[in-house]
């Protein structure tokens, strides 16, 4: 399933729709180059969960930001600076997954062996100055259902 957006606002809108459908323990993995809209989409997801838009900024530097003001806790990861899976384990990444919150992971390509068995993969691509394509690839039953709901 593929969606095309023509502005960051539209991308945020899709994020919002996703955020409203999420349940505790859900994992969303975002793949895409710099500037492809991963953080914009993550922001939308956060807003959909009831988090204040302004509070959601890129966690590239701090690796993970925890947002507890929404309907469910949101763990917003950015693995850009982590090159090996030992580093990812060392930040305690796995202690957050499968817990009471929703995990949104930017630069999920870094996970390799650590990718969970079930998750919603979203691939973002630059298709023009402000045009982006978002490809949804659900892994596992829960995420096939979720992707269907989003259509």
């Amino acid at each position: 399933m593929r969606l095309i957006t023509d502005s960051p606002k539209e991308t945020t809108g899709i994020g919002k729709k996703i955020g409203r459908k999420l349940k505790p323990g859900d994992i969303i993995c975002l793949f895409g180059d710099l500037g492809s809209g991963k953080t914009v989409l993550a922001k939308g997801i956060a807003v959909g969960l009831g988090v204040d838009r302004k509070k959601v900024i890129s966690p590239s530097f701090v690796l993970m930001r925890q947002h507890l003001s929404g309907s469910i806790p949101l763990y917003h990861f950015d693995l850009y600076r982590l090159k090996s899976c030992e580093d990812i384990l060392a930040i305690g990444y796995e202690d957050y997954l499968f817990a009471q919150g929703v995990s949104v992971i930017e630069w999920a390509d870094r996970l390799k062996y650590l990718l969970p068995k079930q998750f919603l993969k979203i691939e973002l691509r630059v298709a023009g100055a402000s045009r982006r394509t978002l490809e949804f690839i659900p892994e596992g039953e829960r995420y096939k259902e979720l992707a269907k709901e989003l259509l």
Partner: protein
């Protein structure tokens, strides 16, 4: 000798103080609130025992393997206290502490801790002449590897049982799975092990103590 002992590498925090004659222990499943609660709990338990943190002679801490965040919270806390009070630290593997829950002489004792992602932290111990000895390294293995390690009549304990019970019963002849109450390390056993380490002069300090990090083998190849 006054000892404060704690282990935070499993889901259940365990903490104890001893002044050489009497001791008190505190156990609680704390989950994500651990980092905020640990200092408070230490203060309460030490006060309840009628002691003063400044009078503690040794800080004992469980080194894992286990939850990376969990064991670092406990270790960082102990490092801070030991540094501020200028006291020695004694580190003991969480699996060693766990093995102390078993008294069966001569049998293979296997503490098995759930490491998530279908993996198990484990090691193998044997008691002879009343002394519990580790006879294998600390390992991070999958179920198949675990079943190869576990010999007949092994005694297994730890929260991995909660996940693999059926498979253990089916594949390990004469296996004994301990009940849930015995799945967690107990700080009073850490105090006992700490006293052994002090006798053997295996003592560390704030700067040279390290947790036991075990990585899955798929992870050990560095990506550039």
């Amino acid at each position: 000798m006054k000892i404060l002992a704690l282990d935070t590498a499993t889901k259940r925090l365990t903490l104890a103080v001893s002044d050489g004659t009497k001791s008190g222990e505190f156990n609680l499943e704390v989950g994500r609130k651990l980092s905020g609660l640990l200092e408070l709990i230490i203060k309460r338990v030490v006060e309840a025992a009628g002691l003063d943190l400044k009078s503690i002679d040794y800080f004992a801490v469980g080194l894992g393997p286990g939850s990376f965040t969990g064991m670092r919270i406990g270790l960082a806390c102990v490092k801070g206290l030991a540094w501020a009070l200028n006291k020695p630290v004694v580190g003991v593997s969480t699996l060693d502490i766990l093995a102390q829950n078993v008294k069966d002489e001569g049998k293979q004792i296997i503490p098995a801790v759930d490491a998530k992602r279908d993996l198990i932290y484990c090691s193998v111990y044997k008691i002879s002449n009343g002394k519990c000895r580790r006879i294998r390294p600390y390992m991070l293995v999958n179920l198949k590897e675990f079943l190869k390690i576990a010999g007949r009549q092994s005694v297994i304990l730890g929260d991995a049982i909660g996940i693999y019970k059926e498979s253990f019963l089916k594949n390990i002849e004469g296996v004994k799975l301990l009940e849930k109450e015995l799945w967690w390390p107990r700080a009073h056993n850490l105090i006992t092990l700490c006293l052994d380490r002090i006798k053997e002069k295996k003592i560390s300090n704030t700067f040279n103590i390290k947790p036991i990090y075990l990585y899955p083998k798929e992870c050990q190849i560095k990506n550039i």
